[in-house]
Symmetry: C3
Subunit: 181 residues, 3 copies
């Protein structure tokens, strides 16, 4: 799965999928297959959430020592400008959690979304971004959850529009939504 | 994305996807690309729901003045017989909201579903129908939501079976589920 | 849809999809198209759940008399070893309900998942397994539902990795995620 011809030469890839669909594993393999210094840009911070801590430890154990790790919950676009240099390959895991952080911080979400999408084609290094698809269930009861899935859908669309390639994962298997030109 | 060869000649297209997946935008572009007088058949009525009013205004601003708009929450099949004439291109946005309206009105849902699916191949004009996929989340707690997602799934299957082409949208990008023969 | 070339020769197929996406109907047609004695291995037991009883009756009426039926809520791997003999074609409907049963019985889920995935390539008969994709909605409020969708996602990944072919259903239409080699 790491040698998917349709995305092999892509400089910027969006990996989309549901919970436990194999997004992170696919994204890691794609970063390593393409070469360059692998950098894991985590938008989660361990904090005191035991569930999240377990999930982060699970991902970290799988990645092993080849990667350097940077934690950045909020300043994603600025951090990408700094890290995604020639010879580097940055994995952003994940956009959906970053959106949550941006929302909780009370920032201007459309502006942050637009800035990220505009920056992606400018970055000299390789970037692989992981995002959750959250809009395929029943309409949520509470207004906050409805607002969040609208914002997540718009973010995914904006990033997909400027990425070179987009892949949808289900049961660990990739479907190419957008192939390299 | 408006010149997707697999659906280019289709007279009746179902556009399926999650919340904020770019369904309406894709459907509008497909209607315009195919030619004919564009008619927007809205199954939502503004009523006094502020969230819905904002969503409708957002869609209306994007479409601009080329379109004529008809609002019909319930009599979808009869309205399609009237509007989908030669030279017209009707966008139904959306089936899932129509299903909600049919359900709240206490109508015979299997009969309404069957009548719509049977009518589609008979219509002389072009028709593009937008529908939500709502069955890919966790099983909902309440029985009403479970019943609704079953009915929505059956409606989508029935319409997909008689449509000429079916497209699934994710992050604004189309996957062809059924191509023109 | 029963003569999908990409999966025609597959001995073991995973059919994935949302609620009312046409998974069971597709799986039944694929079992019958491939030949062999059709056996329906139900992981649901009627019990006293009226909703489930109606769903089972609906599926049973559609299948008709050609099939023999075995109900096994828990011992799935052992039952497959017994039933999936040369000349047989077993439909497992469905994995997600089996996972629920395993969870409620307090069994070791990673061990059960691994045993099933390891067994699939060893079975001499044909096997088609139906599973729900449940991870594409908003993050559930309650921890139990979050844990379940993680486990379901891992189960789907493990089975997809050892199956010969994997198909995703939406609106009754198949997308091939993994084709026969």
């Amino acid at each position: 799965m790491t040698d998917l011809p349709a995305i092999a030469g892509a400089r910027c890839v969006l990996v989309l999928g549901g919970a436990r669909s194999g997004k992170s594993r696919f994204a890691e393999a794609h970063v390593l297959a393409g070469g360059g210094r692998p950098i894991y840009l985590a938008t989660a911070t361990v904090g005191d959430d035991a569930e999240m801590a377990a999930r982060i430890a699970h991902h970290r154990a799988r990645r092993g020592d080849a990667w350097s790790t940077v934690e950045e919950p909020l300043e994603l676009t600025a951090t990408l400008h700094r890290l995604a240099q020639p010879g580097a390959a940055v994995l952003v895991d994940c956009l959906t959690l970053w959106l949550t952080n941006v929302m909780l911080a009370g920032r201007d979400i459309p502006a942050e979304t637009a800035a990220l999408a505009a920056a992606l084609p400018e970055l000299p290094g390789r970037v692989v971004l992981v995002a959750n698809e959250v809009g395929l269930g029943i309409v949520p009861d509470n207004a906050m959850a409805r607002a969040f899935r609208d914002l997540a859908g718009r973010l995914n669309q904006a990033v997909a529009a400027t990425a070179d390639a987009v892949v949808f994962l289900a049961a660990g298997l990739p479907l190419v939504l957008k192939a390299c030109p």
